[in-house]
């Protein structure tokens, strides 16, 4: 690995980092706009044409708000909570393959920060770390609503991580690898050998379980119990103000972006798109692939918002029922069925 490679990696990290922040920034705008359209309204349209400068106005407001640390709060943990939350949200993007390798001159640019062979495990690890930010923040606030929100978040995330892991195991039995790059490469094109190449068509039940768990892990409606305004004021971020609140909200949107990217990579072919073999320039294929991946991610972000304005929040016992009595048995059944089908097909 020479200096040029290190510089390329560094540039890639900066680009991906700023893209995630930009998308998080504009997700807040998209959320308000999409919410408005679903409710027959117009949404923010005053700041700039169609309100496109609204996120900057919101961000400026966040920065200028008074920063309050409650008197009885543990100051160190109170600051550590949102920092950890946004940190874990940002590092998830490191293993996602954003596109095929670009060739410029003699350099081959790998559009993936780290092609580690346990990429799926890394994602699961980062996801389970995410709950610490919420827990620490809720606990450090020294407020019963925050604590209740944090407890809810912790139990919810831990419950749904199990079925998420189990649904991925069935996928791994099909793909036979933990590397996200290899999983994406296996889904090349759209149609091969008489069946779809995308994993969604091999693991529809697994995808359904995964997307439900993704909703729970990102604390989105219908599983937004950790921060439900109607019951817990603001949940774990009740006591937060200024940019520390902004970090929590931001990390939620980055998590949506990352989970959209993970779902696209694992189940919807990642950067692959139909008829990609008809294009002969590898660089063009790579660039269109990146666009295809982002189109899929944007669809998933839209889907997250779409569901938010469709399904009401689950009651807490219903949430636990769904997680433990429905999703986990289904995920185990999915593993068994997948195993039987693989054995049958290989014989």
């Amino acid at each position: 690995m020479d200096v040029a490679d290190i510089i390329i990696k560094f540039v890639l990290v900066v680009i991906i980092f700023s893209i995630s922040l930009l998308i998080a920034l504009y997700s807040t705008y998209a959320e308000r706009k999409v919410a408005a359209f679903f409710q027959d309204r117009l949404g923010p349209n005053r700041a700039g044409p169609f309100g496109i400068f609204q996120p900057f106005a919101d961000g400026g407001k966040m920065f200028l708000k008074e920063e309050i640390i409650p008197a009885n709060a543990s100051a160190f943990l109170f600051i550590a909570g949102p920092s950890l939350s946004i940190f874990t949200a940002c590092i998830g993007s490191a293993v996602i393959p954003w596109g095929q390798k670009l060739t410029i001159g003699t350099h081959v640019i790998d559009l993936q920060v780290a092609d580690i062979n346990v990429g799926v495990l890394y994602i699961l690890g980062v996801v389970s770390l995410g709950v610490y930010g919420v827990m620490i923040g809720g606990w450090a606030s020294n407020n019963k609503y925050s604590l209740l929100g944090a407890i809810r978040a912790a139990s919810q995330n831990i419950s749904y991580e199990i079925s998420m892991g189990l649904s991925i195991i069935a996928l791994l039995m099909v793909t036979g690898t933990l590397s996200l790059r290899e999983i994406a490469e296996q889904q090349h094109g759209f149609w091969a050998n008489g069946w779809f190449t995308w994993n969604f068509f091999r693991q529809p039940l697994g995808f359904l379980l995964f997307i439900v768990c993704a909703f729970a892990e990102t604390n989105r409606t219908p599983f937004d119990l950790p921060e439900c305004e109607t019951e817990l004021i603001g949940g774990y971020h009740t006591e937060y103000s200024s940019m520390k609140l902004g970090f929590y909200l931001f990390s939620e949107y980055i998590n949506m972006f990352i989970s959209g990217a993970v779902m696209s990579t694992l189940y919807f072919g990642g950067y692959n798109f139909p008829f990609m073999d008809l294009i002969h320039s590898p660089n063009l294929v790579a660039i269109i692939g990146v666009a295809a991946l982002f189109a899929k991610i944007f669809f998933f972000i839209f889907f997250f918002m779409w569901v938010r304005w469709t399904i009401p929040r689950f009651r807490y016992d219903q949430l636990m029922d769904l997680g433990w009595k429905a999703l986990i048995p289904l995920a185990i059944a999915n593993i068994v069925i997948t195993g039987i089908v693989i054995t049958f097909l290989n014989r």
Binding site: F37, F38, D40, L42, W306, I311
Partner: protein, 165 residues
């Protein structure tokens, strides 16, 4: 016991069938309903620029009218103040001097005419009571303000603009 209206509805609570219990068909149905709304025309009226039309008998801000020569019609008889159930109107009468004939129609006029817009209930009784057709509630909304004293509207805000302007 029979109910008085004789209406009755037999309620049956069937256990949910398999498709109802897994929620998914209902969720898909819900998603399609919200998607229909996504492409529906927004109903928003973008206030300052667009304004909803008032109905013809809308009672808004009062205006003190002038006659066809541009003279103030009000003679400070006090019937509006008397009829006002909220006691929002006060006035001080004055006698018309020589040379003011082009300003006031009768010999007596209101030197001070104040309506407290925080008290006014926009019932329109002043309008009905006025024998001179001098006050009408034909204006727009009363705008918001910061201080209570700014809601006491005097003649500067109430009297119609002169004709020649």
């Amino acid at each position: 016991m029979e109910s008085l209206s004789n209406k009755r509805k037999v309620l049956v609570s069937k256990p949910l069938n398999f498709w109802e219990r897994i929620y998914l068909p209902a969720i898909v149905q819900g998603l399609s309903i919200t998607m229909k709304h996504f492409f529906r025309k927004p109903v928003t009226i973008q206030y300052p620029e667009q304004q909803r039309e008032y109905s013809e008998n809308f009672r808004g801000l009062h205006s003190l009218k002038r006659d066809e020569d541009g003279k103030e019609r009000c003679t400070a008889c006090g019937l509006c103040a008397l009829s006002c159930p909220a006691e929002a109107i006060t006035m001080i009468a004055a006698e018309r001097q020589k040379g003011e004939e082009h300003l006031y129609r009768e010999e007596k006029y209101a030197a001070v005419y104040e309506i407290n817009m925080l008290r006014c209930i926009f019932c329109g009784l002043c309008e009905e009571a006025c024998p001179k057709e001098a006050i009408y509630l034909d204006g727009p909304h009363v705008t918001s303000d910061y201080l209570r004293k700014d809601f006491i509207y005097g003649k500067d805000k109430l009297v119609e603009a002169p004709l020649n302007q």
